[in-house]
């Protein structure tokens, strides 16, 4: 544990007697996605950082893939950008060969496969995929850096996952409460939960803040909303 911290942690925690190049950097970022019966909402904070330094307060971390699918990625920003570029190329190739755009479930599986191909030099990226499936329902997929994939109705990922995920479990999943039924998910409820979750995370986690961009996808299209967060 101490050795790992010395090798890959911030410079004040590294052994000053040794030089070690790490191919990875942690640029922070947190994402949340919530699915409803006919919509899905996906949001990321807009702070790009490294250690105690802020690179940008306005970095959108949610990438559109198809008219029905979006992906939020955080972690090592270089890997985020490359992963997205390769995925875009794969999406184009698929649409040329199949004369149709990729479905959300197909993209989800492709992303999992692509991540596992790099099992022994991973993309240091935490992904959430959100989209409308073939039946018109909202769906959320959660990934780890090597492609483990879970289909869910709500999920958080990134730096503040420890703060946000339990909140969502309790409020949307009805977990850890007695005799309480989980609510039916609406756009307003999802927006409110996302907003409150990020505001709370920004209070306690130094890596989360500046703002969030909330994207909503329905079968009719996409909308976007920006919310300010504390900048400290």
């Amino acid at each position: 544990m101490a050795l790992e911290m010395m090798m890959s942690g911030p410079d004040y925690m590294r052994d000053p007697r040794k030089h070690q190049f790490s191919p990875y950097a942690n640029n922070g970022g947190t994402s949340v996605a919530i699915a409803g019966d006919d919509f899905v909402m996906i949001a990321s904070d807009t702070r790009l950082s490294r250690g105690f330094n802020i690179f940008s307060r306005e970095q959108d971390k949610v990438f559109p893939l198809t008219p029905k699918t979006m992906m939020a990625s955080s972690g090592c920003w270089a890997d985020v950008l490359t992963l997205n570029k390769v995925l875009q190329a794969r999406l184009t190739m698929y649409s040329h060969e199949h004369h149709d755009m990729m479905s959300t479930t197909a993209v989800a599986q492709l992303l999992s496969t692509m991540l596992y191909w790099r099992r022994f030099f991973p993309y240091y990226v935490s992904n959430i995929l959100a989209g409308i499936d073939e039946e018109g329902k909202g769906v959320v997929y959660h990934y780890d850096p090597v492609g483990h994939m879970e289909k869910l109705t709500f999920s958080a990922t990134g730096e503040s996952v420890s703060q946000i995920q339990p909140l969502l479990d309790n409020q949307i999943g009805g977990l850890n409460m007695l005799g309480v039924k989980p609510p039916t998910m609406t756009k307003d409820l999802a927006r409110q939960l996302i907003h409150d979750a990020f505001v709370s995370a920004a209070e306690r986690d130094i890596n989360t803040g500046d703002g969030i961009i909330i994207h909503t996808i329905t079968k009719d299209g996409k909308t976007e909303e920006t919310v300010k967060l504390r900048r400290d």
Partner: protein, 288 residues
């Protein structure tokens, strides 16, 4: 011509007249494919193609293939060869986007396609690509129409037609050449369709089954229209006079745009060119 069959077995053998007969034979395959027309204005590039069905049971073969958001290609000749070249062009465009974050410009793409096709004209273990391509694209230099041949030559064109009976279409295009530059989007498509129509025998019409349209231009990503999407562009076309004679008998429909009526008068008053039939009419199973 007398010694043609002595020097035509191998693409690496010159004839005494300084010709590569294998390449010329490959160009014959292009003439067997059904017609396709490309034309550009100052803002748009359009392709229209006649789709052929090998029998009544089969679907009409797709003629226009998207390459990227700003490029489409229409084929005449060996479809399989066309697919190989299309796949090559697509990967070139993808790589340009991935590595340089920009759309591949047409002139760069044509150089690469030309280089690839030329290899097949100089190796003993290959044969020339038996397909002619019409490319329509829009890049930083505006709209483009390019033609390629099995000889690996490529030509930058204002307008072009290739395939069976395409001479009639080229005659139409030559006659109306000065009108294309300032044509609107709809007028341009109409011109291309009229040129394509001139390649058809008198009793055959353009329908939404046998016709494909592709258009790309300023502020407009590539769109390819098939089946019902073609209907608005074909409206009223069969009422217009062709070079050869009367059109089909259908209820009179008003033309799509008011300016189309002005074009109609021009086309009707011009003397019809003599019908040219280079190829016997008939289906060819291999080439589309």
């Amino acid at each position: 011509m007398l010694f043609r069959n002595q020097y035509d077995n191998d693409v690496t053998v010159w004839s005494p007249q300084g010709r590569l007969h294998q390449v010329e034979y490959a160009m014959e395959a292009v003439k067997q494919g059904s017609a396709t027309v490309g034309v550009k204005s100052s803002s748009h590039a359009v392709l229209v193609a006649l789709k052929r069905a090998s029998s009544e049971l089969a679907a009409h073969q797709k003629k226009i293939m998207p390459i990227d958001k700003h490029i489409a290609v229409s084929i005449s000749g060996l479809t399989a060869d066309a697919r190989v070249l299309s796949r090559f062009m697509r990967t070139e465009c993808l790589n340009e986007q991935f590595a340089h974050n920009q759309a591949l410009s047409l002139n760069k793409l044509m150089e690469r396609v030309g280089a690839k096709m030329q290899i097949a004209t100089q190796r003993y273990d290959k044969r020339p690509y038996g397909v002619g391509l019409l490319l329509a694209g829009f890049d930083e230099d505006g709209p483009h129409i390019y033609q390629t041949c099995p000889s690996a030559n490529y030509y930058d064109c204002q307008a072009m037609a290739i395939g069976a009976r395409s001479q009639s279409a080229r005659t139409y295009l030559e006659r109306h050449l000065d009108e294309f530059r300032s044509s609107t989007r709809e007028e341009l498509i109409r011109h291309a369709l009229r040129a394509l129509r001139d390649t058809l025998p008198n009793d055959v019409e353009l329908t939404n089954k046998n016709c494909s349209i592709a258009i790309v231009g300023k502020g407009e990503d590539l769109s390819i229209y098939d089946d019902d999407d073609v209907n608005p562009y074909l409206e009223g076309l069969d009422q217009e006079e062709r070079r050869g004679g009367a059109g089909g008998a259908r209820d009179a429909q008003p033309p799509a745009a008011p300016t189309a009526a002005a074009e109609e008068d021009d086309a009707a008053s011009a003397p019809p060119p003599p019908p040219t039939d280079e190829q016997p009419q008939g289906d060819s199973m291999e080439t589309d």
